[in-house]
């Protein structure tokens, strides 16, 4: 028997709001954007640490497997 097709919601209004947010950001002054970057750097620091740990493990694994 054919499986019924999954019905997904229409999220176009969410995507439209996100695009408007991006345009708001683009209109900000250079100083505001720098401040945003500084704040972002702090907030995503845990992700950056994870990323660097993963890369270090990958490099170590590659050098262990090197002939």
């Amino acid at each position: 028997m054919k499986q019924p097709e999954t019905v997904y919601p229409d999220i176009s209004d969410i995507l439209k709001a996100k695009a408007e947010r991006r345009r708001d950001i683009a209109r900000r002054s250079f100083g505001e954007k720098i401040a945003m970057m500084e704040a972002l750097r702090e907030r995503v620091a845990p992700f950056k640490r994870l990323r660097e740990q993963r890369r270090a493990a990958k490099r170590a694994s590659a050098s262990d497997n090197a002939p």
Binding site: T6, V7, Y8, D13, A17, E20, A39, V44
Partner: protein, 173 residues
């Protein structure tokens, strides 16, 4: 319940990502909630819960939570549904004093596939970053692209950006 981090912040888990001030969270809705209606109606129960926790300030359609503009994005395709299911558990150390929190982040192959589907300039840049940094498993990526009907879009992307199609390189080597 899985509610993985998506978008630019998820990309930060793998590559140095673009400027953003919002945090996208992918969520699955019950079939009864997924019928066509405004997102605020769809997300009503979740927003009511957050309001009870003291979070009721909005920036456009994002809700402010601890300084983040959080955007809940309902699963809207089979690709999203699979991305949510396969999201990677991570332990994020906030700082030594606060310790770690457990969360989930979309796997890189799904971030790339979603970027390809959306296909704006910033999405194409994101794909190139993931490829340059070898942050994706090519076999997994090619399988995801193939199964979700993105093979033609991928070949067009590779032609447009002048990169050797890693899926074809893999299959002919």
């Amino acid at each position: 319940m899985k509610r993985p981090i998506a978008g630019a912040v998820a990309a930060h888990n793998y590559v140095e990502s673009a400027l953003t001030d919002d945090l996208d969270i992918l969520i699955a809705l019950e079939a009864s909630q997924a019928r066509p209606q405004s997102s605020l109606v769809m997300l009503g129960p979740l927003l009511t819960y957050l309001k009870s926790k003291g979070y009721s300030e909005f920036q456009r359609e994002a809700i402010l939570i601890e300084g983040w503009a959080v955007q809940f994005i309902p699963v809207a395709s089979d690709l999203d549904a699979e991305a949510l299911t396969k999201a990677e558990p991570v332990d994020l150390e906030i700082n030594p004093a606060e310790g770690s929190i457990k969360t989930r982040v979309l796997r890189p192959e799904y971030i790339v596939a979603t970027a390809l589907r959306v296909n704006r300039a910033k999405d194409r840049n994101r794909i190139i970053q993931f490829l340059d940094d070898e942050a994706v498993d090519i076999d997994v990526l090619c399988d995801v692209l193939d199964r979700h009907g993105l093979g033609d879009a991928w070949r067009a992307f590779c032609r447009r950006t002048g990169i050797a199609n890693p899926c074809e390189v893999k299959s002919t080597s």
